[in-house]
């Protein structure tokens, strides 16, 4: 203890200087509100000295009637740092697109000031608002205050995790469907699956308005809904000319970088063989005014992304190549239910849906959820001759 009654943190203090905003400063700032922060600093300093964490493994705590939304956490040096003996986190479902008003922010701050450490993550990497650190007895009251303010908890454990989406139509000209609406509606539709973990493992859903995938859905969601279009790119030749005039090397920077080499620039006119375009977004990204996605919009549904634990990381793969925007919500609800039904029945404990599909085989999975095989689902057909012919049934 230092004379001022505060723990000394010589190592952490070194992280207060420098141009990038400092999380240490944040923790120190929060001291005014909560003594927890002192002990958090103390324990963290200890970790920095010893090069090892000091949190105990898991711990099941939560709020009445919910099986998720809280991550229990206990210190393994509670006698040294009693204020963080309990240091549970609340995951609070963010508003779609992470939009707030200053009032909403203040409301959240006031609640957290009363019931926790005053520390947050804006946001957790699944997308939730993270209230970082409180005691077990504060969980329920904090939750109810939040509920009265119109907020609810997010997902944790073997549940549908808090869906998230890109800013989409709210502030992006490329969004091929309403990411915020679909994210919000899906979240409401499956409240029960989010709050009362029913599954073999976690299930994440992310909504991106176009193939730029600004929420990394193809890498981080069991179900990735990614916007795209079916018709031709919208092209504004005058704007193209402006870009050229402004010094953009359209041949080199646009045409030559087009993965399907379907663009031709003769120095005056840009010609696109749209039937060959793979909708990668590059040319649109480079010339926002000049090129835009077509008007026949919708999304593709991809399935199975996850981190490496334990069979290796997966990216989502194409499940439905295209769903028109107006059919998205219904298709999604129906499909999610079928997928969950199969996963529930055949998934092993802690087996993500992407792992399950690889284990049983995509073709069998498609049968199970009632989809027909399509060449869009594979990068190429099999290159090995080991085919399990099913002579009984006629081949699908």
């Amino acid at each position: 203890m230092a004379d001022d009654g505060k723990v000394k943190t010589p190592l952490l203090d070194q992280l207060e200087s420098g141009p990038w905003p400092s999380f240490v400063k944040e923790i120190k700032r929060a001291r005014q509100g909560s003594p927890m922060c002192d002990d958090l600093l103390g324990q963290l300093e200890l970790s920095y000295q010893e090069k090892k964490g000091h949190w105990k493994h898991g711990g099941l705590v939560g709020v009445l009637g919910y099986g998720g939304g809280v991550i229990g956490r206990y210190s393994d040096v509670p006698d040294k740092f009693p204020a963080v003996a309990h240091f549970h986190t609340l995951r609070i479902n963010q508003p779609a697109g992470w939009f707030y008003t200053s009032d909403a922010i203040r409301t959240l701050c006031d609640i957290w000031e009363q019931h926790g450490s005053g520390l947050t993550n804006m946001h957790g990497s699944t997308g939730d608002i993270i209230f970082l650190g409180t005691r077990t007895d504060q969980l329920e009251p904090c939750f109810q205050k939040l509920a009265q303010a119109g907020f609810d908890l997010g997902g944790s454990g073997s549940s549908m995790r808090t869906p998230s989406c890109c800013v989409g139509p709210a502030r992006c000209e490329w969004s091929c469907y309403d990411t915020l609406a679909l994210c919000d509606q899906t979240t409401r539709e499956f409240q029960d699956e989010m709050h009362r973990p029913p599954f073999p493992y976690k299930f994440k859903i992310k909504f991106a308005g176009c193939p730029n995938d600004c929420v990394a859905s193809i890498a981080r969601a069991d179900l990735s809904i990614i916007g795209t279009w079916k018709d031709d790119l919208r092209q504004d030749d005058a704007a193209v000319a402006d870009f050229a005039a402004a010094g953009l090397d359209i041949q080199k920077d646009v045409c030559d970088r087009c993965p399907s080499k379907c663009m031709e620039w003769n120095g005056a006119k840009l010609t696109i063989e749209n039937s060959d375009c793979v909708r990668c977004m590059h040319c649109i990204n480079v010339m926002p005014k000049a090129l835009r996605p077509g008007t026949e919009r919708g999304a593709a549904l991809l399935i199975g992304a996850k981190a490496p634990i334990v069979q290796g990381a997966l990216l989502s793969s194409v499940l439905v190549p295209f769903v028109p925007e107006e059919e998205l919500l219904e298709t999604l609800k129906e499909l999610i239910r079928r997928v969950w039904e199969f996963w529930d029945e055949y998934g092993m404990s802690r087996e993500r849906v992407g792992e399950l599909i690889e284990r049983v085989g995509m073709a069998n999975f498609l049968d199970a959820i009632g989809l027909d095989p399509a060449p869009e689902m594979v990068s190429a057909p099999r290159d090995n001759p080991y085919i399990f012919f099913q002579l009984e049934e006629k081949k699908s």
Binding site: S22, I27, A30, G33, G65, C109, Q144, N212
Partner: protein, 360 residues
């Protein structure tokens, strides 16, 4: 008599986003025509209607105190009608209808210590995880590494003159909550020693069959240790994934002397030009050296600089490396190629060079 408790509210879901949308956004929702980057961290989106919304983006440490959040709220009231949002990479964005407010807002943010930038071909905020601040599983801290790495790279955040976007991520264990597996540059906390089995508590805290099943390499075998049923770990078969610890607290992985960091490069998420890619191993091990991880910082900065110098316009790190080839990447960065770089997991064989396409 105690009064009846107020009725409990559950399953209401998040507040509806519409409540939080700036009027200009509500009016032009889905009607945006194009955007321009006016300056690093300043975007202007123009609607079909001709109306415009201006976004000012600032970097945050993600770990934010309510005190700071209230400062943000106040700035929003002052400059953006109270409207703000956070991005998928934990930056804050103020949404302005009046361009005159841009400069004063930038000035105040700068004074408050929040750099404005991260747009376009900049290095944006580092997606990261809990580390020693909150997780039991971490091989290292996350927030500290982010701070240490971003300090020297802050100019790359406030400027946007890289060949393309450059996304960095940090994860403090192989669970990869930061989803570092598809980042241009990823920093990953790793263990290099098998878990230590705490025979005394093991039977109490976990089920042996589940535990044994959790090991992908079958390194965990049943064993009886002084009478008690327990397990042993075959060292040679362990590749330190930590999955056993996730399912059983009695197998801690932490080992201050051997835990450390690995560096990964060349991943991407977007479909722009090339398909999404996984990050590949660049440096198998660097020491875990708080508070400022000099070895990690130097390694990352070096890769960024070599990339900035050699990549062509619009080439993401992975696209650049694929053009020049991995041998040249190792040569240019001065990173040593070791046995650890050669894959030996499930699909290893597919990563062997099975063609004559070679540069000398």
């Amino acid at each position: 008599m105690t009064q009846p408790p107020a009725k409990r509210i559950t399953d209401i879901g998040p507040p509806h986003y519409e409540k939080f949308l700036h009027p200009v956004i509500k009016k032009n929702y889905g009607q945006w025509k194009y955007h321009e980057t006016l300056a690093p961290g300043v975007l202007c989106h123009a609607a079909e209607s001709g109306e415009r919304i201006y976004s000012v983006r600032a970097g945050t440490p993600r770990l934010l105190s309510i005190q700071t959040l209230r400062v943000f709220a106040a700035l929003a009231d002052k400059y953006s009608g109270g409207y703000l949002r956070f991005t998928s990479r934990n930056n804050i964005e103020f949404l302005l209808d009046n361009p005159a407010n841009i400069e004063p807002l930038k000035k105040e943010l700068a004074e408050a210590g929040f750099p404005v930038g991260g747009t376009n071909n900049a290095i944006s905020n580092i997606v990261h995880t809990q580390g020693w601040v909150h997780c039991h599983s971490s091989a290292t801290d996350a927030s500290g590494i982010v701070k240490a790495v971003m300090d020297p790279l802050c100019d790359r955040f406030t400027h946007q003159d890289l060949p393309a976007k450059l996304r960095i991520a940090v994860a403090c264990c192989l669970n990869m909550c930061g989803a570092v597996h598809c980042s241009d540059i990823a920093i990953l906390g790793i263990h290099r020693r098998p878990p230590k089995v705490m025979h005394d508590i093991l039977p109490k805290v976990c089920e042996v069959p589940t535990l044994i099943a959790s090991c992908p390499t079958g390194a965990i075998r049943p064993a009886t240790v002084d009478g008690k049923q327990s397990v042993e770990v075959i060292e040679a078969q362990c590749m330190f994934c930590g999955n056993c610890y996730t399912v059983c607290p009695a197998l801690p992985m932490n080992d201050p002397d051997n835990d450390g960091l690995s560096i990964w490069v060349g991943g991407k998420v977007s479909n722009a030009r090339s398909a999404p890619k996984f990050s590949k191993l660049a440096i198998p091990f660097l020491p875990n050296n708080p508070p400022r991880w000099p070895e990690v910082v130097e390694a990352v900065v070096n890769i960024v600089n070599v990339y900035a110098r050699h990549a062509r316009k619009f080439e993401r790190v992975g696209e650049w490396i694929e053009r020049i080839g991995w041998p040249r990447f190792f040569k240019l960065t001065g990173i040593e190629f070791t046995r650890y770089h050669i894959d030996d997991f499930k699909h290893a064989g597919l990563s062997y060079a099975r063609s004559m396409h070679m540069k000398y």
